[in-house]
């Protein structure tokens, strides 16, 4: 493995040596107003009709033959900067771009940055800039990054209140959500109603649905890469807002001007504060709140070195009284060091830690209670290198080492004063990976990106459970257990993950792209409920649970119209996955040391077409997307029809198999003062299981499904329209008051549709009279069946 990597590096190193007098220009591209690094800004050299883009830290590097060049720097929404340079020796060019003043006027966009979607090899990715996210009408008026992601093609959710999101027919647990490189295991506040990211601290959001670069791995479906702001390096700013659910405050500014800066952003819900003011019926111990705190700072040590510290802390607390309640939260800490070797090799070393934990307490006194805590902790080290070899090759390589500590249950049961420790052992695992990739421009029209990732996983010490085989779909019998010492490997897995994509420019305004991605996932989100919830647990691959493996091919056609005023694309994808997890009927997944006996494994497939059109300029901007998709599983023991002997499973639609998915987001700037926005969602109803019969046992009417079908029906379709209006500078910005402010009035679910979340069959909650036949019925539930108006006031000074 190592020799392949070395060989490839040597080959690439050899290429530029063939010609002489190569000069490198490099530097950082920043926003002139606040010193924030600009991610993905284009550097274009007219003379060679080529260039590069800045990386996530704003760094770029270009190697050219000596000579005179006109270097253009482009970034969407910013004024293009042109530098005439005469290169005789390596040069450092740090650039600051200014935001275009005439943002609100209709302008003819000539910025090359806009055709990035055409020119880049990247496909199956979506970026939403934070400005658009802030403008979208949001539930309860709270700007929400995860909810905005759900407006993109190929992204769905199973309904209001569900945590997370589904990408191209994948599970919630198959998404890797990164906040400044650190994984965030649970992205929800208040179950799934709000997400944990404070928009005030977020700079850039990028979703990879396919064609995933070799530097990422570990999840099957997607990577959501969220980058935090660095903090204004020039002057102090206070940002804040008062909403219906949260109040927010963010402070940013320079620590040492142009050298280092910081940002601290906090949010807290205040439903409890309000409730206490209106009622005294809540008992003393009652608590109901959620908060998050995001902080980041960076130090520009010198031209070659820069360091960053970032941290996130968020928690949801629901306490009904002193002894009953639950809570959950994430904590992450990231330390990063950017170092430049020469001017062509950019490196970043990241050390980070992430913890997700939750607690659950019930009981009524210290003598009778139940206390359960669960956590997953990760410690990562991630060195990454980008070598800007020449204008035609950009090589990335690096690796990642992760130590996982799974603590599924730290639990105590006290009954009548007698304590029983029902904790499960902590388990450890190591995931390590290495990757090498090259982004190569073969001709002006044809570019490729190819790479290889090697990932490995070691499940470490403790009790090893050996299960026997049985009928598919039934709890596996425990045959034996054995013990391994703490750091001894119980089982290990190693996999090669090839990645490749290409872009071919058909015309000036059209290109075709294709990609192949293989991913492996070694940790699994165990969830057998209608929606993913915060109490789902993460489970390592073991001797009984194989890593999930996914393959995806995607092909896309990208075309821009009217000088890039309109962007359109069509993408198709096909995914085939192995070792997908499902559960035996009646599985007991909580605090169960025999959890592995409850899991089933099968194949998955998903395919679809995504259409996307976006209007970038003018008074009305926005996008329309449509996804036609399918997502299915085939697991022995589930949906086996009449094959009671072998129970060989037939394909069945997953819970998030949503055939049609239409999303519209529109923004209309009436004038400088008022802007309107709207979004509309239409999603096919999620599959669910309807019974055929009822069987009566001991007076209970139990549903029975002929043919043991799974997900044989669909709940009605989901559709919803949201509207909002933003009023700028209602108090600030007037009469020489400093800063700016805006008021957002939003309406969620404007036509008050009672969108179904689920349909369930039961004999009801009412007590049924004795000796009378049991009444069974079907109930359709909507989580939010009304229009939800909200107002928020936001300010910045």
């Amino acid at each position: 493995m190592k020799s392949i990597l070395l060989g490839a590096i040597c080959f690439l190193l050899a290429t530029p040596c063939l010609s002489q007098n190569k000069i490198t220009i490099s530097g950082y591209i920043k926003d002139a107003s606040n010193g924030e690094a600009l991610i993905g800004a284009t550097v274009f050299i007219k003379e060679v009709a080529g260039g590069t883009t800045s990386n996530v830290y704003g760094f770029y590097s270009l190697t050219l033959p000596a000579g005179s060049y006109s270097v253009e720097y482009h970034y969407l929404g910013f004024q293009t900067a042109v530098h005439e340079v005469s290169l005789t020796q390596d040069a450092r060019l740090d650039i600051e771009l200014s935001m275009r003043e005439e943002m609100l006027k209709e302008v003819v966009i000539t910025s090359k940055a806009l055709d990035e979607r055409l020119k880049s090899v990247e496909m199956s990715t979506n970026e939403i800039d934070i400005k658009s996210i802030e403008k979208l009408p949001a539930f309860a008026g709270e700007v929400d990054i995860i909810k905005s992601i759900q407006l993109l093609p190929g992204v769905t959710t199973v309904g209001e209140g569900a945590s997370g999101f589904n990408v191209r027919g994948g599970t919630v647990g198959q998404n890797l959500v990164l906040l400044d490189e650190a994984p965030v295991y649970q992205s929800s506040h208040l179950f799934g109603f709000f997400s944990v990211f404070n928009p005030d601290a977020v700079k850039d959001v990028k979703l990879y649905k396919g064609g995933i670069p070799a530097q990422y791995g570990g999840r099957l479906s997607s990577i959501l890469d969220i980058r935090m702001k660095e903090g204004n390096a020039k002057k102090y700013h206070v940002n804040g807002g008062i909403g219906t659910i949260f109040s927010r405050l963010a402070i940013e500014g320079p620590i040492k001007k142009e050298k280092s800066s910081f940002i601290i952003a906090a949010r807290r819900s205040y439903a409890d504060v309000l409730a206490k003011a209106f009622t005294d019926a809540l008992s003393d111990g009652t608590k109901l709140y959620f908060y998050d705190l995001t902080a980041k700072t960076n130090f520009n040590i010198n031209e070659k070195n820069r360091i960053y510290f970032a941290g996130y802390l968020g928690r949801d607390v629901f306490k009904f009284d002193r002894f009953q309640g639950f809570n959950w939260g994430n904590r992450t800490a990231t330390f990063r060091w950017n170092h430049l070797y020469g001017n062509k090799l950019f490196s970043n070393y990241t050390l980070f830690h992430s913890t997700y934990d939750y607690g659950f307490q019930i009981g009524e006194s210290n003598l009778d209670k139940y206390d359960w805590k669960s956590a997953i902790r990760t410690y990562n080290f991630k060195p990454e290198y980008t070598w800007f070899a020449n204008t035609n090759n950009e090589v990335t390589f690096g690796g990642e080492a992760i130590l996982y500590r799974f603590d599924p249950a730290n639990a105590l049961s006290v009954s009548d004063g007698v304590n029983t420790d029902i904790s499960l052992d902590e388990r450890k695992a190591i995931e390590a990976s290495l990757y090498l990739a090259n982004s190569q421009r073969i001709s002006e029209k044809f570019s490729v990106q190819y790479g290889l990732r090697f990932s490995s996983f070691h499940y470490l010490g403790g009790t090893v459970f050996h299960y026997g085989d049985t009928t598919a779909g039934v709890m596996k019998p425990l045959r034996a257990t054995s013990e391994k010492s703490e750091w001894e490997t119980i089982s290990n897995y190693g996999n090669l993950e090839p990645r490749a994509s290409f872009r071919y420019q058909l015309t000036n305004s059209a290109s075709v792209k294709g990609s192949y991605t293989r991913m492996n996932q070694y940790i699994h989100l165990i969830s057998n409920t209608t929606a993913s919830t915060p109490i789902d647990i993460w489970q390592a691959s073991t001797n009984n649970i194989k890593p999930q493996q996914g393959n995806q091919v995607a092909l896309g056609l990208f075309k821009n119209f009217k000088s890039n005023a309109y962007e359109t694309s069509v993408e198709t994808y096909y995914k085939w996955n192995k070792n997908q997890i499902d559960y035996i009927d009646g599985a007991d997944l909580f605090i169960n040391q025999f959890l592995e006996s409850q899991l089933l494994s099968g194949d998955g497939r998903a395919y679809g077409v995504e259409l996307y059109a976006k209007k970038n300029t003018g008074k009305v901007t926005g996008w329309v997307s449509y996804t036609l998709g399918r997502s299915e599983l085939k697991v022995d023991g589930i949906n086996y029809g009449t094959d009671r002997e072998n129970r060989v499973g037939n394909w069945y639609p997953t819970r998030y198999d949503q055939r049609h998915n239409v999303k519209v987001a529109a923004f209309y700037d009436i004038n400088k003062k008022i802007s309107l926005s709207a979004n509309f969602s239409y999603i096919s109803g999620t599959p669910t299981t309807f019974p055929t019969d009822r069987i009566t046992i001991q007076g209970y009417a139990i549903p029975y499904i002929s043919g043991s079908s799974r997900n044989n029906y669909r709940i009605p379709d989901y559709h919803r329209l949201d509207l909002s209006a933003t009023f700028n500078n209602i108090w600030r910005g007037k009469k020489s008051r400093r800063g700016e402010d805006y008021l957002v009035v939003s309406f969620y679910n404007v036509y008050a549709r009672q969108n179904p979340f689920s349909i369930y069959f039961s004999q009801g909650r009412d007590r049924q009279p004795a000796n009378q036949p049991v009444t069974t019925s079907a109930t359709q539930l909507s989580m939010i069946g009304t229009i939800v108006p909200a107002v928020s006031y936001n300010f910045k000074f």
Binding site: G363, T420, I591, T689, I697, S782
Partner: protein, 314 residues
């Protein structure tokens, strides 16, 4: 995750809107159902052999005529022949109860030309030592002073005893799906083993205190017990397979709706311990066989008990 009951009750106020609907279902298979839960109580023991009904058919299932049902004690060879009755197949004890604790039993049912067998082990059961009442002031959801009950029974040491605890308030069986109370030793599940102790508080208390919605006031509940009310509790020993069956059934039938739907599990067929002796038969069967030992105790809240409970709460 039966503990979620708490969350559910408290989240009821947050519940979205629910509508009863009448979707068209696939045609019913109308399979044979054997409901064979017999016990050592000195009363008529019944086995119901019926057919499953279309899900929305709100009628009592009718007995399949002409079947036969026999239970055999595999330890001492005793045969219990069940007679065909009006609505069920029955056996009446004379002096001796059905079965002996520790013995294994086989049920043989012949219906419509097919023969099914099922096995069960008769497990031990702890005595109920007392039923106690506690005084509670009015709360957010119960708008008057009231009493809550709990039973005390010391679960015997030794891992792997499983029980079904049934309760009656004023003679009315607490038979709501959410009140289905099966235990693994003194706790909920084998993964959370609590053994040789008092049953944990949700089992010995929460499941025997009915929470019925106040028909006159939304989001309020009727008091579980008031002076004059009574509670009667039975502990039935069940075997491990019957416990697994009930555990699965609980999640299939207990659908409190509202916010709790987030936590609902996919609908699936409950298990059965009945097997067709003809392995090649394609006929489906549902139902369960268990032989139980039973302990019981009842208590009424007299004025005296009420006063005492009130005093000790101060």
């Amino acid at each position: 995750m039966k503990n979620i009951r708490y969350l559910i009750i408290l989240a009821l106020a947050m519940a979205g809107c629910e509508t009863t609907i009448h979707p068209e279902l696939n045609s019913a298979e109308q399979i044979v159902v054997v409901d064979a839960w017999v016990n050592q109580k000195p009363e008529r023991q019944e086995i119901r052999i019926t057919r499953s009904q279309p899900y929305f058919e709100n009628a009592n299932p009718t007995k399949i005529d002409g079947a036969s049902a026999t239970i055999e004690d595999l330890n001492n060879g005793t045969i219990y022949n069940f007679q065909e009755g009006e609505t069920s197949y029955y056996w009446d004890p004379v002096n001796e109860p059905l079965g002996v604790v520790g013995h294994a039993y086989r049920l043989t049912v012949t219906v419509e030309g097919e023969t099914y067998e099922a096995y069960s082990r008769l497990g031990r059961v702890p005595a109920i030592d007392s039923i106690e009442f506690q005084f509670n002031r009015k709360t957010l959801i119960i708008n008057q002073d009231h009493y809550t009950a709990q039973f005390k029974a010391l679960e015997p040491e030794g891992v792997g005893d499983t029980y079904w605890i049934k309760a009656w308030k004023n003679g009315v069986y607490l038979g709501k799906p959410g009140e289905l109370n099966m235990t693994y030793d003194a706790g909920f599940t084998p993964g959370q083993s609590v053994d040789g102790q008092q049953f944990i508080i949700p089992i010995r208390k929460d499941f025997v205190n009915p929470l019925d919605e106040n028909p006159d006031k939304k989001n309020e509940f009727l008091p579980p017990y008031l002076v004059g009310d009574s509670l009667y509790v039975e502990i039935h020993s069940i075997d491990r397979a019957a416990y697994e069956f009930l555990f699965g059934v609980y999640f299939q039938i207990s659908r409190p709706g509202g916010f709790a739907e987030l936590f609902a599990m996919p609908l699936a067929n409950s298990t059965t311990n009945l097997q067709n002796i003809d392995k090649n038969s394609r006929k489906n069967i549902a139902g369960f066989f268990n032989v139980a030992a039973v302990s019981s105790r009842g208590q009424k809240i007299t004025q005296e008990i009420a006063e005492k409970a009130k005093k000790s709460s101060d």
